[in-house]
């Protein structure tokens, strides 16, 4: 019962602020004394599916960058998390600190240097450059989540898998990754979210050439058409909400007693 109320409060708290957006996105005109818009329009929604507008391309760019960043962050962060979570070695704390530093220090602080560096390498103004620079804030989260997961993981699982006839690759795909699935889902979710809403790094390294949804949203928000801005904002908000719904099982500890104890489980 109390759990139900809490869940309802959280859901309401998350969704209610989005209601004005929803209304604005279809408002033809909405002036001060009116409680609801006097006139509705599909102009904002049309913008979202208009192949001529930048919105669809922006959506595509955001998705591509988000998926690439997520994949690369997992590729780097999972082994790093494994090393930090499973092994005690000299300099472990230092490595831990260095890996987490980007999550503590704002990425902007190092951005000027990064920009010069990327310009020399020809990575500035490219999608690849944006993907690489977005690894800076995402790898720490993946590492953090995965090192917590590996902290309660037992390499004995892999030994068992090997002795039961699985080669190293099948031990990884049939035992290690499935056993860590909840943590992997949380880590991937974080990485994608950070990438999805990233603005400053994308703007400076992408040089305005790589236009992701947040960049488009800013330019629409600065314009005078609030209807269009609200529509784009909805497009930006929707995918994370869908992801939360899909991953809900992994994000909260539920009926499964040995389910996830990492990520948001303790929040």
């Amino acid at each position: 019962m109390r759990r139900g109320i809490a869940v309802a409060a959280i859901v309401a708290g998350t969704l209610i602020p989005l209601l004005p957006l929803l209304v604005w996105a279809v408002a033809g005109s909405w002036r001060y004394p009116e409680v609801l818009p006097s006139r509705l329009t599909a102009r904002g929604l049309r913008l979202l599916i208009d192949p001529q507008s930048e919105v669809l391309t922006g959506l595509g760019t955001s998705v591509v960058i988000g998926l690439a960043v997520t994949a690369l962050a997992l590729l780097v962060g999972v082994p790093a998390g494994r090393a930090l979570g499973l092994y005690r070695f000299r300099g472990r704390r230092l490595v831990q600190f260095l890996l987490l530093a980007p999550a503590i220090v704002p990425g902007v602080a190092a951005l000027l240097g990064t920009q010069v560096f990327f310009l020399r390498l020809g990575l500035a103004d490219t999608v690849l450059g944006v993907v690489l620079v977005q690894l800076v804030p995402t790898v720490p989260y993946v590492t953090l989540v995965m090192s917590a997961a590996f902290g309660t993981y037992d390499v004995g699982y892999e030994a068992q898998a090997r002795l039961l006839g699985a080669g190293p690759w099948r031990a990884l795909t049939h035992v290690t990754l499935p056993a860590l699935r909840p943590a992997l889902a949380v880590a991937a979710f974080f990485a994608f979210l950070v990438s999805w809403s990233e603005y400053v790094l994308t703007l400076l390294i992408g040089g305005g050439v790589v236009k992701t949804l947040p960049l488009l949203l800013f330019s629409y928000a600065r314009g005078s058409d609030l209807t269009e801005a609200a529509a784009v904002a909805l497009l930006l908000v929707a995918p994370p909400l869908v992801l939360v719904a899909l991953l809900a099982r992994d994000l909260v500890p539920g009926r499964d007693a040995r389910g996830p104890v990492i990520g948001l489980g303790r929040l």
């Binding site: 030994a159 068992q160 090997r162 002795l163 039961l164 499935p178 499964d256």
Partner: protein, 367 residues
């Protein structure tokens, strides 16, 4: 499936393993032969290299030297997944994302056994370990004992030639452990699988094993039938580990062993020279008065142990000791009936049954 008596399920030849940074080898020059279908307990205190040995057999570690052979064939270049072994460890290590049936069937799936045959063999195996109908359960719904049963089923379903058990029941409570021992003994006999059972528990080893391999400090101290460890221990270390609390120094000459408290007839003939007389407390008997095969002394203390009383007797050296160490008397522990009345300080005789005692070489210097 009766194997020829000389068939060797598992042979270890001069196996050595030293971990980086360690001063002494975890396993040193270990040679061991397990006949097919037998259950051998690899016994020893913690840190003696038992588990390392198991991991070397499984292929989870590579030896620095030596060889591991299954049915006579070297397995040094064979990765763990292709060795004919299965292991049950102290933790059940059931895969958390799979059901009980999928855990048991994992090895068959890896061997690409067709689904229908797989599910038939899984249910058979679950029935064998007493978990009929548990196939659909989630792993976290099992109790500790059930987890180990599933682990055992998972290991045995692939019909390994060698089963490795690494203290599999040490996390269970006493009653459950006794049940699991019976189950292992029963399954091992029925399936005739060559089994190496690592344990630090003497009682467990004695109860389960056909033969015992005792490891101390990375070395094989003695390997043989359990009985031999009680009747003819090979070393002082083996005698001590098996509860021979009285080791009396002296010199063996033929079947006569000469000690500071008298001469004892032993059940062996030579080799002549210095040695330690092994006097198991339960072999000795308290008597009154003196006579042949009896040494006399005074009761130092008596400790009630429920089923028996351990009486400690101080036996003074004979005055005629030629070596001049007149004070070098000995202290003997004797198992007496629980109700024995042995006041501290009272004079008492200890009967040493001839030929029921043996002699081991003296401890090497430096110990």
């Amino acid at each position: 499936m009766s194997a020829a008596p000389e068939a060797t399920g598992l042979t270890l030849v001069g196996l050595s393993k030293c971990f980086a940074g360690a001063v002494t080898a975890a396993v040193a020059d270990l040679s061991l032969t397990l006949p097919t279908g037998t259950l051998t307990a690899l016994l020893g205190p913690s840190g003696c290299g038992k588990s390392t040995t198991l991991n070397l057999v499984a292929g989870l570690l590579d030896p620095d030297a030596g060889d591991v052979r299954f049915d006579g064939r070297s397995a040094l270049d064979v990765p763990p997944e292709r060795r004919p072994v299965a292991m049950v460890a102290q933790k059940a290590l059931l895969f958390p994302h799979l059901t009980v049936a999928d855990n048991v069937g994992f090895g068959l799936r890896m061997r690409r056994v067709p689904r229908t045959e797989r599910s038939r063999r899984v249910s058979e195996m679950l029935a064998l370990v007493g978990l009929e109908g548990f196939g659909g359960r989630r792993v976290h719904q099992l109790s500790g004992g059930q987890e180990q049963r599933v682990a055992l089923a998972r290991a045995l379903v692939t019909e390994p030639r060698v089963l490795l058990l690494d203290e599999p029941f040490s996390a269970l409570d006493t009653e459950l452990r006794a049940q699991m021992r019976l189950l292992v003994r029963d399954l091992q006999r029925r399936l005739a699988v060559t089994t190496l059972f690592v344990t630090h528990d003497l009682a467990e080893a004695v109860e389960l094993a056909d033969t015992v391999a005792l490891m101390l400090g990375g070395r094989l101290e003695q390997h043989g039938p359990t009985r031999a460890f009680y009747e003819r221990p090979a070393t002082a270390g083996a005698a001590r580990f098996f509860g021979a609390t009285n080791l009396v120094p002296g010199t063996l000459c033929g079947t006569e062993f000469d000690t500071a408290v008298g001469t004892v007839t032993v059940g062996q003939d030579g080799p002549d020279g210095p040695g330690l007389l092994v006097l198991r407390p339960e072999v000795l008997r308290l008597t009154e008065g003196a006579g042949r095969h009896i040494v006399t002394g005074a009761v130092l203390r008596a400790d009630y142990r429920g089923t028996h009383t351990v009486v400690t007797v101080s036996v003074p050296a004979l005055a005629r000791s030629a070596r001049g160490d007149v004070d070098a008397g000995i202290v003997l522990q004797v198992t007496a009936p629980a109700g024995a009345s042995v006041p501290v300080g009272s004079p008492v005789g200890v009967f040493i049954p001839p030929r029921a005692v043996s002699v081991v070489p003296p401890d090497p210097p430096g110990l």
